[in-house]
Symmetry: C2
């Protein structure tokens, strides 16, 4: 069964996109077939995976608004065999308003993803959905379509402030739209071992979420932030760098944990 | 005349809140009277300014939804004389949906702010509105109420991707809701002089926006990210640190430039 992860956190800049593309690449490097769905109108995940996403290019907007099939619009990432992307372009910025009064506004992505995984996507091992930094209809569509929630938490003070709001929304989606959804994974990102703050936040998060928080911690590393400017993930850009190694470890740990019953 | 800045960028984690509170504190330290309006449901600016913003505390939600007067709900920051905050709490997360079908949904903040500045707030020199990382109704309310747009740009690759979308929204608000609005200021944040990426992005931004981009550049500095955990701005937490000095310089430059005709 395909594991479908929703990568969400309404706090901005915590590493949602970076985590999505690098875990996907790490799993693909280990032989898995992986689809990344870019639900952020900025299209950062599409950029990092090196796929076209200019105005007019087919993408996730067409799936949500016009009912296009995922396999008709997704693209293979040039980076690596087994890595695919359903891209986002600027049209997606209007999707939330367009969905607001539309029929089945919360379940459009789930309908499309279920249809994809039943036939064309049967061979996919993982799907990662990269969310924008808000709890609007795009993120709700992702939470309705996903099986597991993965929350990147930046090792900074503000990191914990928004978690209760996120978990409240997750609870509501779980109750009314997707009872199977559960918080399975928390990944600590941008950890700077030289600062007390990083250690404090990491300690707090592990205390509150001991089972969910991965042992692997992603260090702050400039190679990670350089990679997207080459249209690559850090796994391809500099496989031996501390950031790439950490994401490979996290991918391995994620695979090993499996979807717990 | 009071200068009203909207601090916006839908890219997450670029330093909107950090810029808002530290410029406000820098200007207050120089003797100005400053109001910060926290429009982000996470309430990070309220936290950094040390004001209460638990569920049920009066705040900007009451202004937007119930028409409360700003001077009735704003609080003085304990940090320094002349520094005030109209706080945000978790209720604000529901405001965007509530506003969606409400009368005058885009102009509520402007109506309240104009009334405040006409009487109770006449002595205020600056207002800064901290926006969430999205271009929804909260940010539109801010763009409708503001006179000047200040965009923090993180010196990272993704920084430039979202700017065209932001400027498109600004153009639409300018055309239909607030012709006086203009992009007056761009501030480069989290600059790391050791990386090529930082220099490249800074160079790109100055080339595209030579007049708007401040000479002052904010370095990446751990003291900046520690300050909010003490409910302080970096100006109060560690005034001699590179981050505090840079924000003081930026505040000074902003004051000197004045609201150009
Ligand atoms: N471990 C890391 N070390 C250094 N830089 C990082 C790291 N992780 C992410 N970054 C950089 O930090 C910035 C924010 O990361 P990213 O864009 O992935 O966050 P996000 O949560 O997806 O942001 P948004 O809320 O806008 O969607 C990016 O410029 C990215 O390159
Ligand atoms: N110059 C800096 N040096 C080091 N850390 C910084 C700097 N500026 C901001 N930070 C830290 O980076 C993180 C993101 O900054 P901040 O929260 O101000 O961004 P934002 O744009 O307001 O985010 P959001 O999009 O979630 O509203 C915070 O943890 C903050 O403390
Ligand atoms: Mg992102
Ligand atoms: Mg903020």
């Amino acid at each position: 069964r395909t594991r479908v992860f929703v990568v969400a956190n309404q706090k901005g800049g915590v590493g949602k996109t970076t985590t999505t593309v690098n875990l996907a690449a790490g799993l693909a490097a280990a032989g898995a077939t992986v689809l990344v769905i870019d639900l952020d109108p900025q299209g950062n995940a599409s950029t990092a995976l090196g796929v076209d996403h200019r105005v007019g290019d087919p993408g996730v907007y067409d799936v949500l608004i016009d009912g296009a099939a995922i396999d008709d619009v997704m693209q293979a990432s040039p980076e690596r065999e087994g890595l695919f992307c359903l891209s986002a372009n600027i049209d997606l910025a209007g999707a939330e308003s367009e969905l607001y009064l539309a029929v089945a506004r919360e379940t459009r992505l789930r309908t499309a993803l279920d249809a994809f995984l039943a036939v064309a996507g049967r061979g996919f091992h993982y799907v990662f959905i990269d969310c924008p930094p808000s709890l609007g209809l795009l993120t709700v569509n992702a939470l309705t379509a996903g099986h597991e929630l993965l929350i990147p938490v930046q090792c900074e003070y503000y990191a914990l402030e928004g978690l209760s709001q996120l978990l409240k929304t997750v609870g509501e989606v779980g109750k009314y739209l997707n009872p199977a959804l559960r918080l399975s994974t928390i990944l600590l990102t941008m950890f700077d071992s030289r600062t007390n703050l990083s250690h404090q936040v990491a300690g707090d998060v592990r205390e509150h979420f001991p089972r969910e928080t991965l042992a692997a911690v992603i260090p702050r590393s400039v190679r990670i932030s350089e990679a997207p400017s080459f249209g690559q993930t850090v796994i391809a850009y500099d496989a031996g760098s501390p950031g790439a190694v950490a994401y490979q470890e996290a991918a391995h740990e994620l695979a090993k944990r499996g979807a717990r019953p």
